[in-house]
Subunit: 116 residues, 2 copies
DNA sequence: TATATATTCAACTTGAAAGTTGAATATTGG
DNA sequence: CCAATATTCAACTTTCAAGTTGAATATATA
């Protein structure tokens, strides 16, 4: 089974060539050679980048004879999105707790001045 | 000025140690030494990771004498979020266009059989 | 002032990733 | 079958980031 992980996803996305490949595929599926064409590197190098993206679940491959068609698989972005959203959410929660504490403090100062 | 970029952001997030540091800081600001403590590597190595996160705008630093307090800056995630969302959006747009084309085809078949 | 503490700087080593080149595999067309 | 096309595999080189160690800087404290 294809093992999706935030590690593989973010690692795949961290390379500018690989992000460019994903952007190229927004126009629809392309052959390996077509993907490679605009890049200043060998076909082999691009083929390797494609493999990294595929292993991360960001691309899927359809074979038609000797030709391989690659297309972007947006679901592959999910691990990255989830990590980022969870991180933001935890932060907000922390911030909310702080705000609550401040409000509680306020209440103490206004409503219980007769204390001690 | 601190130059935020998707490249720096995703590169910073691609390392598991650095993601762990961000997660540690969800509990609030910590000293460099405290951040380093749970990691199986030298203080220096962690200090470098902190610098990478800081350069990417993901952490901010407050100095109090010889002690440096680091805290998570959620705004630093924005370039990553924006790239991902834009990529998803372009994909959806493409998909919508395809759907529209299919519907238009349908309309042709049902409503204009007297054509040609 | 001397010493301990907190952190960074600088130089170095190392391992992995990115790139290259040439051969291998598979498929299509003459 | 033979040649051309599309892609990957394998071996190699090179670049670069991650890690180490030891020294430097800055601040606190006895």
């Amino acid at each position: 089974m294809l093992q999706l992980s935030v590690d593989k996803t973010l690692n795949a996305l961290a390379d500018p060539t690989r992000r460019a490949i994903i952007e190229q595929l927004n126009g629809g599926e392309q052959r390996v050679s077509d993907i490679a064409e605009p890049h200043q590197m060998s076909l082999n190098a691009v083929s390797k980048h494609i493999k990294v993206l595929e292993d991360a679940g960001l691309l899927s491959r359809r074979r038609e004879g000797r030709t391989h068609y690659l297309s972007f698989d947006p679901g592959g972005l999910d691990p990255a999105t989830e990590w980022i959203e969870r991180t933001k959410a935890l932060w907000s929660k922390r911030f909310d707790a702080l705000e609550e504490a401040l409000l509680a403090d306020d209440a103490n100062q206004n409503g219980r001045e007769d204390d001690d």
